[in-house]
Assembly symmetry: C2
Homo-oligomer: 124 residues x 2
C-alpha cells in the first residue's frame, strides 16, 4: 500500500471512531479555514463545524467503512483527497443508510487536518 | 448560487454529457499529472485515463446526477473539489446503479482540468 492510501485509511478510521464515540473531539481535526458541506448545508470554521456535527439529531451512531480511495491533491503541498463510501446506523435502527464523504486533508508536521469535508447520504 | 458551485455544476453537466456521448472526448479534461481511481484501480496521465474509460465494458451509458457539492480546495490556487452522487444506466438495463464521483479541478485561464478523479459504485 502506498503512503497516501495508508494515511487516508488511518485518518478515516480515527475520524469515524471519534465521531461514533464523542463528536466534540472532532474539533482537533478542523481549523478556522475548514469547510463542511453536510447534506448540502455549508458551514466554515472549527466551532461552526463541530456545532453542526454535535447538533445532528441522533444519540448513537456507528459508521461502517466500505471503501477508502485516496490521491495526492496538490502538486505543491502535502495534501490528500479521500473519498469514503460506507454505511451508518443511527440510534436503534437496524437498516443502515449508505453515505459518501470526501475529505481534503492538509499536512502540518506529522499530522493532517481537514480543509474540505463533503458529506452525503445516498438514496436509492 | 456562489461561483464555486456554479463552476462545479457546469463542469459536471459537461463531463457526463460528454461521457455518455463519446468517452474519447474526455481527453480534453485531463492532463499528464491527472489521476483516476476507478473502482479502486489507479491510473495516471491523460492517455491511460482515457484508455481506461473507453475500455469500460458497456456500449451505452447514461448518468443521472442527484447531488453536486463543491468547495474551494486550496487556499493558494484556484481549485475546486466536487463530489457528485447519482445513478447510471448501462446498455439496456432498467435498474440504475448508484455512484459517487469526486473531482478536484484546477483552473487554467478560463477553464478547469481534472487533477483528481475518484469513482465508486455504491452497493447497498
Amino acid at each position: 500500500m502506498n503512503q497516501t492510501q495508508a494515511v487516508a485509511e488511518q485518518f478515516t478510521k480515527f475520524y469515524y471512531d471519534t465521531f461514533d464515540r464523542n463528536r466534540t473531539e472532532l474539533a482537533s481535526l478542523y481549523r478556522d479555514p475548514s469547510m463542511l458541506t453536510f447534506e448540502g448545508v455549508q458551514t466554515q470554521g472549527v466551532n461552526s463545524i463541530v456545532e453542526k456535527l454535535v447538533s445532528l439529531p441522533f444519540q448513537k451512531v456507528a459508521h461502517r467503512i466500505s471503501t477508502v480511495d485516496a490521491q495526492p491533491s496538490n502538486p505543491n503541498n502535502q495534501s490528500i483527497v479521500v473519498t469514503v463510501t460506507g454505511q451508518l446506523l443511527i440510534d436503534d435502527e437496524t437498516n443502515p443508510q449508505m453515505f459518501t464523504q470526501t475529505f481534503n486533508l492538509i499536512a502540518d508536521g506529522g499530522s493532517f487536518w481537514v480543509y474540505n469535508d463533503i458529506f452525503r447520504l445516498n438514496y436509492a
